[in-house]
Symmetry: D2
Subunit: 353 residues, 4 copies
């Protein structure tokens, strides 16, 4: 029997950047890393080279631990930063709070001290609302501030905002964790190096996203301050996030970060979102609800139009009662994709008139 | 910058079947499943087809949940089988006990009731030694018997032995879990279908191994008795074992199980181990310590010879005080590999004379 | 050496109802249950009688599990109600969220889905804000609504309000947990039986408080709907909440619930809070901030006066920035205590003028 | 309604030292500590005095944390000694392994590395069998050696044996935990101070038993080396082991340790076991199976005789297939109790002739 393609490779949508596939350069790296035997569990030449590729971006002191997925990266990083009784301050809308099935609590035993935010972003003032009860055993002890950049709402922290949060957190004796599943998009949008939003701003530990940037699979826990995390190698293993054939995760990351693939992919996804945002802004009845800063457009449109549209191009309803939808662009979204989708939006809105 | 191969693809060793790379047919399946957009998290056509491929082997009632790695498969399966206060009877030498960093306990909160075995295999009598304390809250409540086939010691359960364990366990009100990281090797060695060692023998839930059979990554939790596991989809997510780009795990498994690739790979690995076992059996000073039933040879040889040999071909020392080593064959081990290694064994043993 | 009293038994304060000691009738019950041997771990005649005493209040179907403390009662009850991936909707101000050091998450692996409330009380509308994501593995699955009566803010749910919440929750497929650390105070305040706020209103599982009602130690997990909790005896043991000399917890509860001691104690504490609320209401500069419904008064007064006052009578500052303090009455608070305290409030406020 | 005694205070048995009640001096201390208000959660004068009473026995550096029960003491101590990925070496027969319902694993997430022992006691050689895999993330990292003195089998470690274990463990980089639920019995049997079996021998952290020595309830986590445990106050709270009315646990311990009550009680229990051991040694058909070193006698007798006897005096069958029973003496066991029981043994054995 021969394995056969089962899907239409021309199919596109705006549902998520992980509905896209694998960038060809990444697939080629996997093929090159293949054949012959290599030590498993990270003792191979590719995992070593992957570390160097990360250090070229994040500084010579960065320790890099490849893992399988974003939830794994977040839980491993946070768990390694916290003693069992310590807690994590984060936005109520943070991925760790809303989208990981409760993994931080269920599997990590981590209490999240969530705080509502206007746009997905924490501020020193918002942090202060949860940074209380130090030394009181009746209170989960705040230990980490976790931010996402870009956020789940597509907003972005600048280097200055990141630094302000880090300084504030450090002043309170807290460490800073960055969920960087879309850090590449944030850096590309601001046209700054990855370190400007992490190492140079004072971030202690981050999750760096690969899957949404065109990898087959793979994320990384990056420890920038070795004093901020303990036993990452053991936490990763007990969290079931240690890949046996580590060379292949590593080769993918080297392909992504060794050159400018990460930046090309992020720029493309961001540019397509910007194009889409502009294209629908003028469609009567469509309201773009949030600033388009990274690779996503949020908009409100009538439910009936939304329903018709989503049959033509898959996407998610973000807030059902509000009629808000999320349109996300990926590294492989094309101008034609965007133009066809924007035209469909206009058509369906016309149909509701 | 162009990604470049960093290793010698001709390098071979006998350290582990996960030191091997990816079978070309598997890589081709990944490439065919690539391009275009597909729903993430398992709602795609490949994950559906993967389920069918498993059901062709394990029966129409099998539910299949792809995960990232073997530790993940075991912990997800066992966690879904047990209430929080329930425990797992297993061999002291079981992978879940010795080789997963404590993940079942640390992450799963599962108590393992371990029992010493002569050869890695449980028996009804050995199970009875731990199947005690039912209804007594001072005792972790036995709920699952977990066996591995092939075992960590390279031994194999026959269909009859598996059935005897399942009947005994069921009679005690226990369910049976099978760690099938090398189930293909066991089935190939016995020349029986996969179902003969699982579905037909009464196994309730199994971990089916892909990585050691030539996949890039990917294992599966297979539920044969739906009454024996609860909430697998939620357990998998909170255990951080849900892949976003699920289509690629699925395509690999379809390539493995849709035809006879699983069998070809397992037969090759087993045959190479048998060849190696025969080749070294006559080398003076080398003693093969266990029956060569699957794809691994255990042997005792002098430490000095062992040390010299392992510089030429990587392998692991299994039991340092006893001088016992483990030589494992993979799907890509060749007759030339074996013959070269056996010759090296003879040379180094000559050198110790 | 002879053990000697180390404290002034005339010392009083308004810090907490657990700063009070043990009611004499409770001590006498302990003494009567003493001497001779009795089975441990609950297989004794007192634990059986305790169950009967509870069933006289909560109905013939109530199952009763004595535990050590309130955090233990809440975590055991909630853990027995939820599968590992299921979550608990509660007020942001709930004791389980703010005052248990993170025990539900850290020890129980329970995700709390918290929602801000105006006065510590949930409503069907507030529940709906968190009762989302059913069937979506990316979301912790809502399973339980947990309310406190009286709440941490001294507010009370009526039987009708409790029933409305239970009906709403049940309609959503959720079970209802009641943190009844101060259920006696709520029932006394409303002059209704304990069942009116629990069994008859549709509550499924509750924590019933003993320590704050005059016991030495001891709370109880009371299961009203046996289908709503699984394996309580095992959860209790693994949560380290099973007392060996169970007869003494049981005797205390029998003393509390077998007659009207629970009601006398609760009425006294409530009446003293009401008296205090009235007495300070007219002191210029003091503002009672919340309705005095149970045994606690919240008030705002100038920080300097607050600081002076707390040196004379211990109490807690509830909300530092707001200058809000909490004055709590206990089963042993006397009219003289209240009058002396109210006079001190007036004096210290005069001092700030 | 008046609370009434429900049991026969003359009833005795040999089932467990926690079937006994409360020593009168302990009850008196509770009464003296009663009345008036005292700070909760350990900020009271009795908890402070309790610390001093412990330090008089265990040295000026001892930190003392009262908890509710023995399982709680063990789990809190071990959890505070181990990072989440670290493991505990203990005897297969240890209470933490066999008698706590799996609490260390289920609630503590602790892996126990158990080793069979001839008599319940570890030795340096036995420790070495599990002290392996340091630095290997595939292995739970050994961190603590936990011994019990007296053991569950009634055997005792001498000061020299304890020191040998501590030195060996420390040499391996491991810390030593002592389950001292019956440490008083061991010290009384050897006629040495408590420190001789703990502080002076190099033990790092211990559980000190109160309940089995005549308390109503209460055990203590005693940290002898502050470097060996982290965050005990937070671990205790999240483990639900922090009593609100802490003054009463403390007063009991002060009554026990402030004078010689602990020693009188332990000597009595030990002497009664010795008397019983001697009395039954000569009964034909009864075989005392283990040395009677503390307060327990193990014996083998015919099942029919055992069954008849246990209807007259409650006790536990320890090993059903072997016909081995456990007869335990308590602080309140009298010479008359022992003589009556020994006579009953002789009678029932005659009856089997």
């Amino acid at each position: 029997m021969t394995f056969a393609r089962r899907h239409d490779p021309a199919a596109r949508g705006f549902a998520s950047d992980n509905h896209a596939g694998v960038h060809p350069e990444v697939l080629r790296a996997i093929a090159l890393a293949n054949e012959g035997h290599q030590p498993a569990y990270g003792d191979d030449v590719y995992t070593e080279a992957m570390g160097e590729a990360f250090r070229a971006h994040f500084g010579a002191g960065a320790q890099v631990w490849p893992v399988f997925n974003g939830t794994g990266a977040n839980v491993v990083g946070l768990r390694a930063m916290c003693a069992p009784w310590e807690a994590v301050i984060c936005a109520e809308s943070a991925h760790v709070n809303t989208d990981e099935g409760g993994a931080p609590e269920v599997t990590g035993g981590l209490k999240l001290l969530t705080v509502p935010t206007p746009d997905g972003r924490l501020t020193p003032d918002l942090i202060d609302r949860r940074a209380i009860g130090f030394g009181d055993p009746h209170r989960a002890q705040p230990r980490v501030v976790s931010i996402s950049n870009a956020t789940e709402l597509g907003t972005i922290y600048t280097p200055e905002e990141t630094r302000a949060i880090c300084e504030h957190a450090h002043g309170l004796g807290l460490a800073v964790h960055l969920d960087g599943a879309r850090l590449a998009n944030a850096a590309a949008a601001l046209d700054v190096p990855l370190a400007a939003l992490s190492t140079d701003a004072g971030v202690d530990v981050l999750s760096f996203g690969g899957t949404k940037s065109g990898l087959l699979y793979g994320e990384a826990v990056v420890v920038l301050d070795p004093g901020a995390a303990r036993g990452v190698e053991y936490v990763r293993k007990t969290a079931m996030q240690l890949a046996s054939k580590s060379r292949f995760v590593a080769a993918q990351f080297e392909a992504l970060l060794g050159g400018d693939l990460w930046l090309r992919n992020a720029r493309r996804a961001n540019a397509m979102a910007a194009r889409l945002g502009r294209a629908v802004a003028d469609v009567p009845g469509v309201r773009v609800t949030r600033p388009v800063e990274a690779n996503v457009v949020f908009a409100v449109l009538p439910p009936a139009a939304s329903a018709r549209l989503s049959k033509r191009f898959p996407f998610y309803v973000w807030d059902e009662p509000a009629g808000e939808v999320r349109w996300m662009c990926a590294f492989d979204t094309t101008e034609d994709d965007v133009d066809a989708f924007a035209a469909a939006v206009a058509e369906e809105m016309g149909g509701t008139g």
